[in-house]
Every structure is written in structure tokens, then in C-alpha cells.
Amino acid sequence: MTTAPGTGTSHHSPSSTRTPTRTRALAGVGALVRFGLRRDRVRLPVWILALFAGTLATAGNYRTLYADPEDRASIATTMNSPAGLAMTGPRHYLDDYTFGAMLGHQMLGFTAVLVGLMSVLTVTRHTRAEEETGRAELVRSTAVGRHAHLAAALIVAALANLALALLLALGLSGLGVGSVDTGGSLLYGFAHAAVGLVFAGTAAVTVQITAHARGASGMALAVIGAAYVLRAAGDAGGDGGDALSWLSPIGWAQRTYAYVDDRVWPLLLCLALAVLTAAAGFALSTRRDVGAGLRAARLGNAAASGALSRPLGFALRLHRGMLLGFGAGLLLMGAMYGSILGDAEDMLKNIEQIQEAIEEIGGATVAESFASIVMIVISVVAAVYAVMAALRPRSEETAGRAEPLLATGLSRARWAGSHLAVATAGGTALLLAAGIGFGASGAASTGDGALFGKLTVAALAYAPALWVTSGLTLALFGWFPRAVAAAWIVPVYAFVVGYLGQLLQFPDWMNNLSPFGHIPRLPAAEFDWTPPVLLTLLAAGLVWLGLAGFRRRDLETK
């Protein structure tokens, strides 16, 4: 910025010398906000309405599922375990488990992740993605200030969060459920917005760091993941041991205890962090060039290595960064869950009643039943990778980078197949990494060495479901390339059914629709060869179908 020396520090300088600089940096922000809202006129309402409808439907479900106070007391007892708390929220909600408390306990942490996702994708889409495509350069050449893009993106994200907050407050308080009162509903709604703002601010920082929209949203999503894992690990520790949760904005939002204590001040922490991260984003943006990241571009090899010139080696090179990122993330995630496994067992050994309840669910030990729930989360994260990696051929195609390769001696099947090979093998390697992390730290925290092998195998058992996910993505790519994003339904559905389904008691057929629903729930359940074999055959069929479709269609060119 071209602030004259001294004007920034002098508090007494007349406003006329400060205002122009600031307005210049933000010039055009109004037009960009309107433009952003116009571009997102379908996307954001879909996000907001889906989150709103999901919450309202859940609140409605509670009334039918837990009509009697005894039902609520019994679910509260079930929840009062490290596994239950890690999946939901802080223990304090359980003291008086009303419908409102259930909502705050079970839904808030979960929807907060999705609100974070919405905010991150919105900010990235209107900042880094614009720069990466070169559109920002065109816009910036007009009378638009240097901070206008980021400011407009943050405003659009904030408006979306605000709309969601108000909608939730109105909708929930209008439900007419006794414990879901107006004050609590307002707080509940704004807790979502506060978390959304924090992650919008996070994205404002990550889009400065890397020159790629994909990398920027990946980094911000990793922060959301870390925030969720921190609160899960903290909450599993029960009332006194939740220090880790206080490191997480999602943990803060849950500690408003909406519908229980109605505390507002944890949201102020969120707002402070949101302002701080956004300010950091603005500050960092002045330290880099338009279109560039904070790290300077480095030179590389003048010639390709032998491995790079083979299709598989080349695909691996393209996927390398994302694969390593997911691998490190899953290893850490597994290790984190593993570290609370020992506490989980100690805590529950003393409570006979729960011990019985969990044995009824089918777990050999408390630790094992907890582990089988963690496996669902791990496999869904790996499935996110499986979809992203299998979508790569499509993004290469639309970017015009497939065309020169497919004009060489490389056949279409080998090209798409090499990407798929990396997606499937990479996904399997991710499961292995998570299983090893979980197993090693779980074995250490429980003192049960056998757990290492058990947990690693349990994670690997999900591999056939990942292959089906990648295979389905490829089949869409082959036959309906424009609808390929529909592949995201698989991990989202697997998460909703596998995770929320346990809380909300979905019918069996809903579970059976997901490839992940057929995997034996190791280590708690017995292993059965049939489902993995059938899933593997299904995956092979989908791959064959996808390649056949891709071979006969037009390549989409720019």
C-alpha cells in the first residue's frame, strides 16, 4: 500500500489524509460483493437451506425418537462415554438432556464443520481461484483496490453465515419445542456463524500462502479437521480434561451451551480470532504479487527423470502433494484418536452399566467399540481423497492438459487408468497410515500390544469401499463427465449414515446403500470375507465401465 510514512502511526492526522488511502485499497468492493452474490446465487442458498433443513429435520427427529424422559436419560447414559463424547460434544450438555441440549450437543459440532467448509470454499472461490485463472488480473486492472477482492469475499462469506444464523434462530424458535427457546436458538444460530467466520478468516490466510486454489482450500480444510479432532480429543476427556477443546473454535462454539447455560462470551473468542485471521490475510496479501504465493517460484530440473516419463510415474508426480498431505493428516488423526483410547477404557471400566451397554452393541472391549467408530471417520477422510484423486483426470481434461498427452502414444485407458491406480493404491496407503498411527498410539495408551495389528487391519478392511468410490467416480467420468462431481455423494452419504446414523438410528437399508456400510466394523465385529470380495468385484466392474465410456466419448477441449 502506498501509505505515506507517518500517516499509519499518527492518531491525530486528519481523516482526510487517511480515508483516501483506505478507500482506494477497498475501491470497488461494493460492486464485487454484488458480483460475488450474483455468482453464488444458487450455490450459497443451496448450502444454507441444506444446513437449515438438516438441523430442523434432526430437531424434529428428536421429538419422535426420544419422546419420553426415560429415552432421553438412556441416550444421555450411552453418550456419556469417551466414544460418545468424541463424536458429539462436551459432557456438560448431558446433565439435563433436553431436546435443546441434544441439539447443542450432537448437531452443533457436526454442522459447524460444514459451515466452515462452506466459508472456506466461498472465500477461496472468490480470491485465489480468481487469481489462478487470471480473471482477477483483468478485474484489478479496473478501478478496484488491492484489498477489494479479499474484502468482498469475506463479506460474501459473512453474509452467508449471517443468513444461516438468522434462519436457524427463526426456524428453531418457531418449532414450538419447550426447551428450544428463542434466546437459545439465537445463540445456537450465531454459534454457527461465529465458527464460519473463523474459517473464512483462516481461508483468507491460506489463500495468501499458496498460489493454487486447491492447495489453499486444502490447507484451510486441514485446519477445520484439526479443530474438530482437537475438540473430539478434548471432549472425550470428560468434564475436567477438556483443555484441548479450548484450542478449537468448534469447541468454543459448543461451550456456549446453547439451550443449557446460554453463554455468549465464547463466541467473542471466535469473533476475535476471525478478525485476527482476516487482518493477517490482508497484511500478508500486501507482501506478495498478484497471482503469486508467499513462497517464490523455484527452478526445477531441466530434464525429466525416467520414472516421470512413464504414465504411472507421471500420475504419481501430479498426485504426490495431495497424497502426502492426506497421509500426514491421517497418520496424525489416527495417532490422536489412539492417544485417548487408554483413557477411554480406564474411564469406563468403573461404570458397570455402560460396560454392559457397549457389550450389547457388540464390542469385545470398550476400546474396540470406540475404535470401530473412529474407523468410520478415518475411512470417510480417505474416501474424500479417493474422490479427489479420481476426479483428477477430469480436471486435467477441462484444463486442456489431457489433450497434448492423449495426442501421443499414450492410450486413453492407460492415461485414465494410471490416475485411477494412484487413487486406489493411494487411498489404501492412506488407510494403512491412519491404521498404523491409530494402532501404534492406541497400543501405547492402552498397553495392549495386540491392538496395533488389529487396528491396522481394521483400517485396511475399508479399502474395497474406497475402490468402489474411485470406481464410481471413474464411471461418471466416462459416461457423464459433466456430472462427475456427483461422486462426492459417496463420502458425504457415508459420513452422514455412518456417523449420524448411529446417533439418529437410521433404518438398515440406508446404511446398506453406502459401500462403507457393508464393511465389517472391525475390531469390534467379526471379519467376514464376503462383503469385501463383492465390493472389490463391484469396483472392478465400475472401472471397466468407466474406461469403456471414456474410450468412446469425445474429449472435452478448451
Binding site: 517460484a297 525429466a304 492423449l406 501421443t408 474429449l555 478448451k558
Partner: protein
């Protein structure tokens, strides 16, 4: 000579858009064939059909004696392609991209490293930069080097020099001459008419997915008007009445200009002789004029409100301006 490429009655639609509407194209082995047409005429679509990237709706296409769709991979080992809009992998260096494309094309054959390095040198390309750091022109160079470092017998070049500076344009022309001398066949789609005039043996002009004219430049010129500019001792009169003469304009000092159809050139010059020629300049039709002859009506309808410019008059004007 055998045909390297023969296309007859090719059709291709994208939804309701007709990209190719009965296109014909013949390229002889060993020739440099210019492929001309305005944006959206179907040049890139044709080349992509030849590459087996797009599947034609109907019509026949043969390349090097094979079917471009069914024998795509086999054909790709024998050809090299430069797209008009080169996209590179942001994390790969230019050198890596060149090696990757060359080796994938080669089908096991070793890359001619000496040739590659020589071309990198001649095109003044830094092969250590990452794809994201290259300008459009440099991305184009990467694709050109990758294509020309190969020993492909057929080169499909889709506006290969868009974005190159004039110095590089000269290097490109040299390299194409070398390729031709080495017996390679080149299909060159281009907007740069000077490039086509210099490099190409034969030219096909397409419009709205259809071939409107095909042949050598001299053949085409014969079918088109030559502009004559002459100074005569006595004012030249009665030229308007001669067959095939158009746009006669008499200037002060006995100068006259007119355009004459190739078939009537002889008669027009004979008539001029009768007035005592002092000086005579004849402009063969430029490729631009050949193009404008086919697209002129389109341009005219676009500029219908430019009232004073009668269609033929504006053509003559353009010719003189050169």
C-alpha cells in the same frame, strides 16, 4: 504421391452447433499444407478429429492410411501435435514436460537429446522454469520443441506460433523448412497469412465447417483478381467496358488503378498498351485478398451500415493499402 490426410464430407456437431458441415481436406505426403479460416470455422475441430480426440458424426477421415479414431494410439506414435493454446502442469518444468511428451509419443524409442537441446537453444527457452512461471509464448515454445524434437513423419500444428515474438517466428519458419526438407508432412493451421504464404505448398480455406477453396497459391491467384496500377501517356479510357475489369479509378497525371480477373489479365494489359504505358505495377492477390474474397460478404453484412463503402470498392481499397 500418396495422401497423408484425406477427409471427405466430415460432419461434427456439438449440441446444436455445427462445427463441421461436410468438410473435405486432402494433404499430400511431404507437403506443407496451410489450413486457413476465421475463428470458429472448424480448424481445431478438424485437427482433433484427426487426433481421435473427437469422434466425427459422419464422413470419412484417413490419416497415414489408418482410421484416426480406431488407430489413434498407433497413429500418435507417428505424428506430433502442437495445440493452439498450450496448458502445462504448474509443478513440472518445461524441460520435464518436453521429455514427458516426447517419451510418451516415442513408444519406446529413445529421445533425440541432441536435437531437443538444440531446439531449446534456438527457441531461447529456459527449461528449468516451472509450468506456472511461463508466459503464453513460452508455453507454446515447450509444445513446439516437444513436437519437433521427435522424428514424427506428420506434424499437426494448430496455430502454433500464436504468442511468439517475430524473432521466434523466423526460427519457427526455419524449423518447418527443415522438417519439410526431411520429408515430413505438415498440416499448419494459422492466422498469420505471411507465414502461410512463405511456408505452404498448398492451402485449404474453410468456412463454417466447409472447405471453400483448396489448391496451390498460384492456382488460387489465377482464380482471383490482380490489382494493376499504371501510368499512361494518354488518359486510359474505356477500361470499365472490358470484360473482367473492376473498380477502375483514374487519378491525376494519367494514373489508373483497377482490378482484373486472372483470366482477363492479358486483355486488360493489351488495352493499356494502346494508351502508352510509362510505368506498370501489378500486385498479385495477397492471401488476405483470397481470404476476403470468401469472407468478404460476411464482413460486408457485418459492416452494412458503412454506407459509402460499396462491397467491391472496399476490397480494392484494402489491396492498395498493402
Amino acid at each position: 504421391m500418396t495422401k497423408a490426410i484425406s477427409i471427405a464430407g466430415l460432419h461434427k456437431s456439438f449440441g446444436r452447433t455445427r462445427a463441421l458441415d461436410g468438410l473435405d481436406l486432402g494433404v499430400e505426403t511431404g507437403e506443407v499444407h496451410g489450413f486457413l479460416g476465421p475463428n470458429g470455422a472448424g480448424k481445431s475441430t478438424t485437427i482433433r478429429v484427426l487426433l481421435g480426440l473427437l469422434r466425427a458424426d459422419s464422413g470419412a477421415a484417413r490419416m497415414l492410411g489408418k482410421d484416426p479414431w480406431h488407430d489413434a494410439v498407433e497413429l500418435h506414435r507417428r505424428l506430433a501435435y502442437v495445440p493452439g493454446d498450450v496448458e502445462l502442469w504448474p509443478g513440472l518444468t518445461g524441460g520435464e514436460a518436453i521429455d514427458l511428451l516426447s517419451r510418451l509419443r516415442g513408444g519406446g524409442r529413445a529421445l533425440d537429446k541432441r536435437r531437443r537441446d538444440e531446439l531449446i537453444e534456438r527457441f531461447d527457452l529456459d527449461p528449468t522454469k516451472k509450468g506456472r512461471a511461463y508466459s503464453k509464448g513460452n508455453r507454446q515454445k515447450v509444445a513446439i520443441v516437444a513436437a519437433l524434437a521427435s522424428d514424427a513423419e506428420l506434424l499437426l500444428l494448430d496455430e502454433p506460433t500464436a504468442g511468439l515474438d517475430p524473432l521466434m517466428e523466423v526460427v519457427f519458419q526455419d524449423v518447418i523448412f527443415e522438417a519439410k526438407a526431411a520429408g515430413k508432412t505438415v498440416l499448419l493451421s494459422s492466422h498469420i497469412l505471411a507465414q502461410v504464404e512463405k511456408l505452404c505448398d498448398r492451402v485449404s480455406i474453410i468456412r463454417l465447417g466447409r472447405t471453400v477453396q483448396s489448391g496451390t497459391l498460384s492456382e488460387m491467384r489465377h482464380l482471383t483478381r490482380t490489382t494493376i496500377e499504371a501510368e499512361t501517356e494518354r488518359p486510359a479510357t474505356g477500361l470499365d467496358a472490358l470484360p473482367g475489369v473492376h473498380d477502375v479509378r483514374t487519378e491525376e497525371g494519367g494514373r489508373v488503378r483497377f482490378a482484373v480477373d486472372g483470366a482477363h489479365l492479358d486483355g486488360a494489359v493489351r488495352a493499356l498498351t494502346g494508351f502508352g504505358i510509362r510505368s506498370l505495377v501489378s500486385h498479385p492477390p495477397t492471401l488476405e485478398e483470397l481470404m476476403l474474397r470468401h469472407y468478404g460478404d460476411e464482413l460486408a453484412s457485418n459492416a452494412a451500415n458503412a454506407a459509402n463503402a460499396a462491397n467491391s470498392g472496399s476490397r480494392g481499397g484494402r489491396g492498395e493499402a498493402r
